[in-house]
Amino acid sequence: MLPYILRRVWQMIPTLLGVILLIFFLFKYFGGDPAEVMAGLKASPERIASLRAQLGLDRPVWEQLWLFVQQIFSFNWGKSWTTNEPIAQIFATRLPATLTIMVPILLLEVLLAIVAGLAVAYVRGSLSDRAIMVISTVALSVSFLVYIIVGQYLFGFVLGWFPVQGWSASFWKNLITYAPLPVALAVLVSLAPQTRLYRSFFLDEIGQDYVRTARAKGVTENAILLKHVLRNAMIPILTNVATGLPGVFIGSFLIEVFFSIPGLGREILAAVNRSDYPVIQAATVYLAALTMLINLITDVLYKLVDPRVRLT
């Protein structure tokens, strides 16, 4: 196990370097001049020049790159260009709000989709197939935006069941009062396509030879579905969850914008709008590293789920 992990970490390094290079050069050559952005619209040329010296922009490229790399590995990003808040603090304070929303969404999505997918796979008639396909196609054709706008309007404004927006400092209050509406909307939107996906996993397994063997042994249909098929379908389900995990950390910026939740997604979106490069760069690099870490953990977890996996 340990040699495998070590080898994977070794392999991650070129990728991480690639991300760093990409972000650095993207912003350096395609982005605007940071000094101009920071100085503002009405700055004098001298102010801009002094800012450039401050930021080290008059040094050679490879020195700037080295500085960039150093910043990354020392977790010292300096401050946001506009709000002057230390970037590390930005991440630390915004992340809890994001997680409070995203983790329940992920859990509910997966659990509900498993249940619904099993139910549909059990019934398995062509009529239910067609119905599911059509419903999910139509449901998916409406933009997520519309669901949020209408949902917010209907459940918050008109019916008053939930607050339209808001956030508090207490975790439990957030979870019980402010989170339910956004969580419910997000889960609702993703339910149809997730169910369809999980249903295809289950149907793939049902068609396998070992299910025929189980039937030949006299196993009941229920046991086949819940024991044999579900257990094998955990493998693609795990893949599916793993692909969605990095998204949990960046959060759904749409939800955060609409519901005024002070999370990471909204923060990054705001940074884009005001050209606050350090925030965007930092978020990108760290989330990329986090994604690679999650991939590694998932690959190791595969061993628990699929005995055929050989970690070599």
Binding site: P3, L6, R7, Q208, D209, Y210, R212, T213, A214, R215, A216, K217, G218, V219, T220, H228, R231, N232, V305, D306, P307, R308, T312
Partner: protein
Amino acid sequence: MHPLISVQDLRVSFRMGQRSVEAVRGVSFDIPTNSTLALVGESGSGKTVSAMSIVRLLPDNALTGAASKILYNGQDLLRAAPESLRALRGKDISVVFQDPMSSLNPVFTVGEQIAEVLAIHLGLRAHPAWERALELLDEVGIDKPRERLRAYAHELSGGQQQRVMIAMAIACEPKLLIADEPTTALDVTVQRQIMELLARLQQRSKMGMLFISHDLALVGEIASQVVVLREGTVREAGPVAGIFHAPQDAYTRALLACRPPLDARPRRLPVIGDTIPPKEIAAPRRVSAAIGAVPLVEARGLRKDYPLRAGLFRRSMLQAVKGVDFEMHKGRTLGVVGESGSGKTTLAMLLTRLTDPSAGSIRFDGRDLTLLDAAQMRAYRSRIQIIFQNPYASLNPRFTVGQILNEPMAIHRIGSDADDRARRSIALLDKVGLGSDAFGKYPHEFSGGQRQRIAIARCLTMRPEIIVCDESVSALDVSVQATVLNLLLDLQEEFGLSYLFISHDLAVVKYMADEILVMHQGEVVERGNPGAIYANPQHAYTRQLLDAIPRGLSASA
């Protein structure tokens, strides 16, 4: 005596979209207790569908006929309630399937899967179930059973997996065991072991066995009754001695006749024409071309290693071919026989330079082929050609037959223009017996045997001198196999072709080859004249291979 199972007028059809396809058209037979009934037929005969109907393990789109009945213990299984049928499966009637690797659940251990059937029907759990599973593994001949209980399917060999399947099937002491081509996916030596195991188990427990196979010789050794099926109907049924010694039906006779015989070497094999009875073949002995003074191909010291990754930095090597020498002569066939992992396919890849050797040389027409680069090799490619095993994969599904035949001629600039090439293609199609109508069709419109003939025509477009036949007939039904083998022999006579004929089937190789190499784990363990090898095998492995060949009834009589 009252039969165990009575199948009466079974009709099964499959609904495919708008149409329905009849797979079984009025099949009737009785399975006796305490003996083995064999269902024999080629692909499409309906043998598997008939057997699966007994336990109703058919796909969802299957329809059984209204008048069909399958009687067991006074009950019609086709009309039984699902719950009572489920109670029978695994307990009274169990099944062993063809491919054990995919038939075992990959995420549960062997012990868990055996224990499952014990829990459902006998109510055994935990420790007693585990102990019984251990006994069963021992009974089916698995070594180190206690360790194997905790193993997963992919950690076992093909033979061991099949033993596990058999253990699961006999766990509750069934009255009937259905074995659906249980050895087809296994190596020939392992096949022999599994057959002996099944025969032993059947005798010990006095259960009935329904054995399904395409190989008449194989069932001759194990069955007491035989039912021959073709295209969904019963052609002949009766005691095994009658079938083998005095077959009544023409199809049965043809099936028996078109296997290459081990003790004779007729000029051509009899085939099942579209109209039966088969033509009477004048059986003069086949004469091979004389050995020339200079060999056409001389290979020395061929070695092929594949790197395997193990551990953090170590790399071990898999030696597929370890130092092989051989010679080929014009107009003669060199046969290579061996099981999986013997390196015979790698040899084919090496000769055609589809893979490069790690060491060794191949001299052909005064040059060492291993030293040529890609451009130089291209000129030689037209002279050494290959026919692959899988007729369903070796033709590009998106090309018409005309395009398939045209391509090699265009590459090697044979033929003056497109028209000329088309004419040559059609001439070749006639020669392989397909006719000019095939020109505009796609591969999926042809059967396996026909596709192999297209592949042969493709080789012939380039007028090669050497053709490598890599298990070219192994995927074909026996009767089709004979057609293709006859075609190959005809072409060899006409064009003076030299073949490298590779197969795991010793009978076929013995029939086709003028000289044989026996390969085992990358090395040539024996070589020589086919007759000599058969009569007097020197090496232990060769003897093992020969013993494993199913001889039909004559062996057990």
